[in-house]
C-alpha cells in the first residue's frame, strides 16, 4: 500500500477524529495555531493523539518532542513536514 499524500483536508479530518475540538473544523486554516494563547486550544494529550494518528496513517513517527513542538505549530507546518518525510527527504 502506498502512503497517502497529506492534504490540508485530511489533516483537518485527523484533528476531528483525534482531538476534542472546540471550533468547527473548517475554521482551522493552514496557519491557525493549534496550541497556546490565541490558538484553537489543543493540549498535550491532543498532541500525543495527533502523533499516534499521524504515524498510523502516514508511517512517519514524531518521537522527538522538540520536533513535535515545531511541526505541530499549525496544520501548514505539519503538512510541509509530512510531505517531505513521506518523500524520504528528511
Amino acid at each position: 500500500m502506498s502512503t497517502p499524500v497529506p492534504m490540508l483536508e485530511d489533516l483537518r479530518q485527523l484533528l476531528v477524529e483525534n482531538c476534542m475540538l472546540k471550533v468547527a473544523p473548517e475554521e482551522i486554516q493552514e496557519e491557525t495555531p493549534l496550541f497556546g494563547p490565541g490558538s484553537i486550544g489543543l493540549d498535550s494529550i491532543d498532541a500525543l493523539q495527533i502523533t499516534v494518528a499521524v504515524e498510523k496513517k502516514y508511517g512517519v513517527s514524531i518521537q522527538d518532542p522538540e520536533l513535535a513542538r515545531q511541526i505541530l505549530v499549525n496544520l501548514g507546518s505539519l503538512r510541509t513536514w509530512l510531505l517531505r518525510s513521506t518523500a524520504g527527504a528528511t
Binding site: 502506498s2 502512503t3 499524500v5 492534504m7 493552514e30 496557519e31 491557525t32 495555531p33 494563547p37 490565541g38 490558538s39 508511517g59 512517519v60 522538540e66 520536533l67 513542538r69 515545531q70 511541526i71 505549530v73 501548514g76 507546518s77 510541509t80 513536514w81 510531505l83 517531505r84 518525510s85 513521506t86 518523500a87 524520504g88 527527504a89 528528511t90
Partner: protein, 427 residues
C-alpha cells in the same frame, strides 16, 4: 540632431512603463536599450501591488494571456522543513491584488517594451548611452549604435538603466549602502523541481537557511528558477566554486532535497553580486532615476519589478506635470519624487532587515494571530506601501515584537539544525 520631449535610458520594466505613459499622453519619447532582446534577467517574481500600474497602461490583459504562471501567494519554509508559513494574497487583500504572476523576464520585458513601441515610443535597440549634458533648458545625450556615435536632445531624461546606474555615475551622485552587507547569488533554471499541490503551485517558495536563503520560482509548466543567496563573505570563506556551493546546499537541507531531488539544470549557472545602494536624490531639474537606477535592495521580497513599475509611473507623471508648464521640475517636485521612491524602498528595507535577523524572523514565521498581525504581514509581503492607519499600527506592533523577541520570546524559537537523515521511506 533629433529632439524629443523625453529620453528614457533602458528598456526594462521601469523604462518601458515610463515611456509608455509619456507616449500615451502625447509626448515624443526616445527609448534606448543597450542589450539585444530577448535577454536573461533575474527578478522573476512580481508582487500584487504592481498590478495597478499594469492595468492603468493597458498591459494587464497582455500579461494575463501570455501564459505566465499565476502567483497567488508566497511561502517561507525552513531549510530543515520544520516550519513553514504560507501567505495567500486573496485572503486579506482586495480582489485586484489577489493574484499576480511569476514571469520569465526575457518574455515579460519584451511584452512591456513592445507595448511602449505600440504606444508611440521610438526605440533604439542595442544602443549604448555614453555621455549626458544637463543644461537649464534641455539635456543632450550621446550614444553608440552600430559603431556610430549619435546625439539626441530632449527636455527631460529618465534613467532606467538598472544597476548600471548610468546617470548616477555620470553625475557622480551621492549614494548610501544602507549598512547592509554585500550579497552573492547563484542561480539557474531547472526542470523537474517539485511543486506545491494546487492551488499553491504558483507560489514563490523561499527556503530560509540559518545564514542564507533560496528562491524557488515556478516559471511555467516545466521551468523553475532556483537561486541561492548568501553574504559575499560567507561564500568567499567557503572557498568553493559557485556550482559546488549550490550543490552542497541542495544536498544538505531537507527542503531542498525534497524540491530538487529530480531537478536538472536547463540553463548555465549564473552568479551576481547584490550590492544594496540608494541615491540620496532621485530627481533633478530635468532628470529622474527609476527602479534599480535609483537604488537596489535585496531581492528577498520580490520588490524589484514592482518598484521599477511604480517609480516609472511616478517619474512619468512628474515629467508630464513639468512639461505641461514647459519648465524644469521645481525643487519641491524633485524632493517629492525622491521622497516617494525612498518611502517605497523603506518599507521593504525594514522587512529585509527583519528577514536577516534570526530572532525577528521567528516572529515573521509565527505572527500573533489574535493581534491580527498575519493580515498586516500579508499586506507587506504583497507590497502594500500605502497602509491604512490600522494596518500601519499592526505593522508597528509587529516590528516592536520583532525587537522584543531579542530579549523575551513572544514567538517560539526556530531551529535551523539539519538532523541526521532518517532511513528514507521506500515507496
Amino acid at each position: 540632431m533629433t529632439t524629443y520631449d523625453t529620453i528614457v535610458i533602458g528598456g526594462g520594466p521601469g523604462g518601458s512603463i515610463a515611456g509608455t505613459i509619456l507616449a500615451q499622453r502625447g509626448q515624443n519619447v526616445f527609448l534606448l536599450e543597450r542589450e539585444r532582446f530577448p535577454r536573461f534577467h533575474i527578478g522573476e517574481s512580481l508582487i500584487p501591488y504592481a498590478n495597478d500600474v499594469l492595468r492603468e497602461v493597458g498591459l494587464w490583459d497582455k500579461i494575463a494571456n501570455a501564459g505566465f504562471m499565476p502567483k497567488l501567494g508566497a511561502e517561507f519554509t525552513l531549510g530543515n522543513a520544520r516550519g513553514s508559513q504560507r501567505f495567500w494574497f486573496g485572503r486579506n487583500l482586495a480582489s485586484r491584488y489577489a493574484q499576480t504572476f511569476q514571469v520569465e523576464r526575457s518574455k515579460f520585458d519584451h511584452i512591456l517594451r513592445e507595448h511602449a513601441r505600440e504606444s508611440g515610443c521610438e526605440i533604439a535597440a542595442e544602443a549604448k548611452a555614453e555621455t549626458v549634458h544637463l543644461e537649464p533648458n534641455h539635456v543632450t545625450l550621446t550614444y553608440q549604435q552600430n559603431n556610430q556615435r549619435q546625439t539626441v536632445q530632449a527636455k527631460y531624461i529618465i534613467d532606467a538603466s538598472g544597476r548600471d546606474t548610468f546617470l548616477g555615475r555620470q553625475l557622480q551622485l551621492p549614494k548610501s549602502d544602507l549598512g547592509l552587507p554585500k550579497k552573492f547569488a547563484i542561480f539557474a533554471h531547472f526542470h523537474h523541481v517539485r511543486r506545491n499541490d494546487p492551488p499553491a503551485e504558483g507560489h514563490i517558495s523561499i527556503v530560509r537557511l540559518e545564514d542564507a536563503w533560496c528562491w524557488i520560482i515556478p516559471l511555467d509548466a516545466e521551468k523553475t528558477s532556483v537561486g541561492l543567496v548568501q553574504s559575499l563573505e560567507r561564500f568567499k570563506n567557503r572557498k568553493e566554486s559557485a556550482e559546488e556551493c549550490f550543490a552542497r546546499a541542495r544536498e544538505e537541507h531537507a527542503e531542498l532535497r525534497y524540491r530538487m531531488g529530480d531537478a536538472v539544470a536547463v540553463s548555465d549557472f549564473f552568479t551576481t553580486g547584490d550590492y544594496t545602494y540608494r541615491y540620496h536624490q532621485a530627481a533633478g531639474p530635468r532628470w529622474l532615476l527609476v527602479g534599480d537606477a535609483a537604488g537596489f535592495i535585496d531581492p528577498i521580497f520580490s520588490s524589484g519589478v514592482m518598484l521599477a513599475l511604480r517609480s516609472g509611473k511616478l517619474a512619468a507623471e512628474a515629467v508630464l506635470h513639468a512639461a505641461m508648464k514647459n519648465r524644469q521640475l521645481t525643487a519641491f517636485e524633485q524632493n517629492r519624487y525622491s521622497r516617494q521612491v525612498r518611502h517605497m524602498t523603506e518599507v521593504f528595507y525594514k522587512m529585509i532587515r527583519m528577514f536577516y535577523d534570526n530572532r525577528a524572523f521567528e516572529v515573521f514565521m509565527n505572527p500573533i494571530p489574535w493581534l491580527k498581525l498575519p493580515q498586516a504581514v500579508n499586506n507587506l509581503v504583497a507590497g502594500n506601501t500605502e497602509l491604512s492607519f490600522f494596518l500601519r499600527l499592526r505593522v508597528e506592533i509587529f516590528y516592536l515584537l520583532c525587537f522584543w523577541q531579542k530579549r523575551h520570546r513572544v514567538a517560539p524559537p526556530l531551529d535551523f539544525s539539519e538532523p541526521a537523515r532518517r532511513t528514507p521511506v521506500t515507496a
